[in-house]
């Protein structure tokens, strides 16, 4: 693959001597949807959080190897944590609206990095809420607490909030698992629309969802990447025994 967006080489991660990620090598292509599947506890979330360095916040974490985004090292560097995290935003399993208004949730990332003047915030927030297909539903209640939204709306708000800081990469950890079918569908559709401009790495437990939206698929098992390939090939012609077993539902 030429010019991967994210390149992971020899990544090992231990938490308190427990070997969680084992010798991961991956090249994640730009502006595509790459889906990570694998049984519970195999390290999917940890891998996502390593890419934007959230694992730094855990106690007892040790990592080795390298991760680059656009050829720039992000794992073994001491500076620019803010830039790294804004470049690769995380959408979590359940929406966690910040304890503030709908408007301020979206404006939060812009405000903390001091990038926008007050007057410029409002049109930007509107634009972002439109991108997340939320504007029509919230335009009259922008100052209400974000917690007053439904779960599905909250997840779209979290998406808008993440897009606000101009990421290139969206790391999504089972972003639809807490949502009703319609809200899930809305998020999936959004991802497909966004995949032209964003590199999306998404964890899911729902194989049908992976089939619907994946361009590339990663299968992980016990901290290792077992198989990686284009969705077409992955689903029609899996190479590894474990992948075959997983796809036929033996693990679930």
């Amino acid at each position: 693959m030429n010019n991967p967006k994210i390149k992971i080489q020899g990544l090992d991660l231990h938490i308190h001597k427990q070997h969680i990620l084992k010798g991961i090598n991956l090249e994640i292509p730009a502006n595509k949807i790459t889906v990570i599947i694998g049984p519970s506890g195999c390290g999917k979330t940890t891998l996502l959080k390593t890419i934007n360095r959230l694992t730094d916040e855990y106690s007892g974490v040790k990592h080795s190897g390298s991760i680059t985004i656009d050829g720039i090292e992000v794992l073994n560097t001491r500076n620019g944590l803010t830039e790294i995290r804004q470049k690769a935003g995380l959408l979590s399993q359940r929406p966690y609206p910040l304890p503030m208004s709908i408007f301020n949730n979206v404006a939060y990332g812009l405000k903390i990095s001091g990038r926008k003047r007050k007057s410029a915030l409002r049109p930007r927030v509107e634009h972002l809420l439109r991108m997340a297909s939320l504007w029509e539903e919230v335009k009259d209640r922008l100052n209400d607490p974000a917690a007053s939204l439904s779960i599905g709306q909250q997840q779209r708000l979290c998406l808008a909030r993440g897009l606000a800081v101009n990421p290139d990469i969206i790391l999504a950890d089972e972003p639809t698992s807490a949502l009703d079918p319609l809200s899930s569908q809305a998020i999936e559709q959004k991802f497909q629309e966004l995949s032209g401009q964003y590199t999306i790495v998404m964890v899911t437990h729902i194989l049908r969802q992976a089939r619907r939206i994946a361009d590339y698929v990663i299968f992980m098992y016990l901290g290792e990447v077992i198989e990686f390939g284009s969705a077409e090939e992955f689903f029609s012609n899996p190479k590894h025994e474990k992948t075959k077993a997983y796809l036929s539902g033996v693990f679930n």
Partner: protein, 297 residues
């Protein structure tokens, strides 16, 4: 047979529960009513505003202005909370957000023990440590002279006393902020400190406010420790280096003595009623602020 027996047991236990709740409520109302009835004779002699806002305390001539006591209590409470609230907040932030988890595990029993110490011990400690410290160090630094039995000493002792109490609540509150919420903020590029300021503390604000409210009501009603170091002079204090005479100390020192003075016990009952109302007021504020603010965050 068995079914009906279980049903009876169910009913019985439900009744017990209601009875328990009713008992608490009745007891509570009973205290208020008794205090009010006992205090009422003094209302016939003096207007309420005279009692609350006059500093003329001459029981022998039937003058019961309680301003000196009320001001003393407010002053001491204010000092205690102004010192303990920020200390507790910073300590709670440190222990829950920065320190190794083992430190918190280590500190928890220490804090519990401190919170459970009888207040007379804090009083003795105040006499041994705080009173001389105020008279020898703090007062001279401000060009004042005092024997150390002052409003300031009482405020300091009280601050130390309510710290473990408030700290416990704040730790609980801050600890309950989900990690995922912090990660959401960090993922947006916020620094750890920004996350604490704008997300963790904000999310915990109702809890923090109620911890402070409960601290205030605790401080306002504290009797023994304060009585031992406040000096107990009936005069409206002009600054913190003068002695004060807080309401609970007034009641504890005088009830049962000098009861031959007409209306004296009514006046003390009124002091108790004021105390009762203020403490309940702050408790209610603290609790309702949890409910109201929680909806907002």
């Amino acid at each position: 047979m068995r079914f009906s027996k279980r049903k009876i047991l169910d009913l019985l236990s439900a009744y017990w529960m209601y009875a328990g709740i009713a008992l608490v409520v009745i007891l509570f109302g009973f205290i208020g009513v008794v205090l009010f009835i006992k205090a009422s004779p003094v209302f016939y002699e003096q207007s309420v505003s005279d009692i609350l806002f006059s500093d003329d305390w001459k029981p022998l001539s039937g003058k019961f202005g309680m301003l000196a006591f009320i001001i003393s209590s407010l002053y001491i409470t204010l000092i205690a909370v102004a010192i303990s609230a920020p200390v507790c907040l910073l300590a709670a932030i440190f222990l829950t957000q920065y320190a190794d988890r083992r430190l918190l595990t280590l500190m928890q029993p220490v804090i519990d023990i401190l919170a459970g110490l009888p207040s007379v011990i804090y009083g003795v400690w105040g006499i041994i440590v705080i009173v001389p410290f105020v008279s020898d160090v703090i007062a001279p630094a401000f060009g004042r002279e005092t024997n150390g039995y002052t409003i300031l000493s009482a405020g300091l002792v009280l601050a130390v006393m309510i710290i473990p109490f408030m700290l416990n609540i704040m730790i609980e509150v801050l600890r309950s902020v989900p990690t995922d919420l912090k990660e959401a903020s960090l993922s947006l590029g916020a620094t750890y400190w920004q996350t604490i300021k704008y997300v963790v503390v904000k999310k915990s604000f109702p809890g923090i406010a109620s911890a402070i409210g409960l601290g205030v009501s605790r401080a306002f009603g504290e009797t023994i420790a304060v009585l031992m170091v406040a000096g107990n002079v009936t005069r409206v204090p002009e600054n913190v280096f003068q002695p004060g005479y807080p309401l609970p100390a007034l009641i504890a020192n005088n009830y049962g003595e000098m009861m031959s003075i007409p209306l004296y016990d009514s006046a003390l009952m009124l002091a108790a009623l004021v105390l009762f109302v203020v403490v309940i007021f702050f408790n209610l504020i603290a609790r309702s602020s949890i409910i109201r603010l929680e909806k907002y965050s």
